[in-house]
Amino acid sequence: MATGVATRRNQYYDSVFLMGVNRRLLDSAGVRQSAVLMGSEANKSLLADLGIEDVQVQHARPNDLVAAVIADSTQAAEAALAQLDDFLAGGQPAGASPNPRTLEEGLRLKPAGNLAVISIPGEYAAAEVEKALTAGLHVFLFSSNVPVEDELRLKRLAGEKGLLLMGPDCGTAILGGVGLGFSNAVRRGPIGVVAAAGTGLQEFTSQVHAAGSGISHAIGTGGRDLSDAIGGLTAVAGLEALDRDAQTRVVAVISKPPGPKALDRLLERIRSTRKPVIGCFLGAGRELVKAKGNLQIASTIDEAVRVSLGEVGRPVEQDELGPGDTEEERVRQEARRWSKTQRYVRGLFAGGTFCYQSQQILREAGLHAHSNAPLEPRLKLGDSNRSEQHTLVDMGSEEYTLARPHPMIDGTLRRQRILQEGGDPETAVLLLDFVLGYNASADPVGALLDGIRQAVQGARAGGRTLTVVASICGTREDPQDLEAQRRLLREAGVCVFQSSARAAAFCASLVNAAGG
């Protein structure tokens, strides 16, 4: 084994672009492992974890590109790194005029600019947001790892200026039919959303679209907005804006359970809203908030969709949303062949909301799942990489995404975990989610398919029947081909639902039928 390192001074690239470069490096002959990163301290320690400690790496600064490979031989490492500049040039649009480098320059070129979309490393984000707000721009802040004090300060500043600050850690929004970040292609319509839960917003808007209705605006707040530390500043601003918006006839609010003070503030604002509001506080149970006046409570995203559609005069039956798989009966038969050791659901999620909602659905069915993002502290996994009994893992959480791409764009870690769970004789059913839409992987199912097949075959070789259940979040209009993605899963024997809630409920029913 040989290690090779190359650096490029003052060449800054974004992490998604570098992921593509890394993939090409990894495909080079004789390369076993590779990393292409900017030279931040966090990235340097990641390289050290891989066993790469080179004087060039030590001297690299956040503005310097670092490429490292571990290969079969020194020649292979050198040959791979010799292509680095070609790989870097490959992603740049040829002949494009140089882009502005600061917001100020950008505004000179686009004086009509009204929204800054910011997705730079979290440590630099607050300064950039402040510049944007000061320049009178609304902000969609995708970056995570922004300190909570900065979030509060910036949201207050936004409030003073009458501007909307969505985020930090805001994955999704749809404004006037345009999707920001990870979002799905949905038609415009009468339903507005405020969501502190990114994939929850994607599931809600995709299902509304599938049912023939549409979205006026979907405002993301960032996951921390409804904590007491922030007090729901963006959620309340979003609710007020949707209350005033003529196109919006009903507003859905989707979140994990808010902090008590933030909830009081939100409920007070909902009471003075002139439109029907549907509250979906995942994981809370029905006792947290009671329906009152114009507020209705939904315990799942599916239910929030149904109630919202009813409010705009498009009532739907449960079965019209995310229809069950025609394979359900076959899979029920298959589950009867589980061996004695196979007792547990193992869920591996790209969507944090799906992980959380699935735990709630399992709990309602009497199954208590462990998780790295648990409903109750006592169910927290000691080691996120080791499942215990029923386990649902949020693979988009920080421990899996620090200096690594999110599982919605890169399936590498999830594929490894599928093989691990498939090899565990206690795993009865694997539960997966696939998220389509703008900025998600071009082929999310394809990235995991051979992992799923290997896991199923491996279990079979061990005398076990491994059941795989999945949900797909997305619309027919998304850049990925929804039908083709579904077909790929079905051909691999996976039972596919168009709703994460229904996939989780199906897993619970399989396990309970097998004796819990």
């Binding site: 956040p62 929204l115 979309v117 009458g162 920001l180 605006h217 804006a241």
Partner: protein, 57 residues
């Protein structure tokens, strides 16, 4: 009274995209107006230098 948020929701968004280039590409795909800002860490990412610069600017 119409607020700035109302104007955003009723009007057309014009985006300044600071960071992931793929975000700008997906906006272009949706025929939204967007300009890419090629951001890089200020002062080469040197924190002390950034703070010094902030004091002067």
């Amino acid at each position: 009274m119409e607020t700035r948020v109302d104007q955003l929701l009723q009007g057309t968004i014009v985006v300044l995209n600071v960071g992931l280039r793929s975000f700008a590409e997906s906006l272009e795909r949706q025929q939204a107006e967007v300009i890419q800002i090629d951001w890089a860490p200020p002062a080469g990412g040197d924190k002390e230098m950034m703070e010094l610069l902030d004091q002067f600017l």
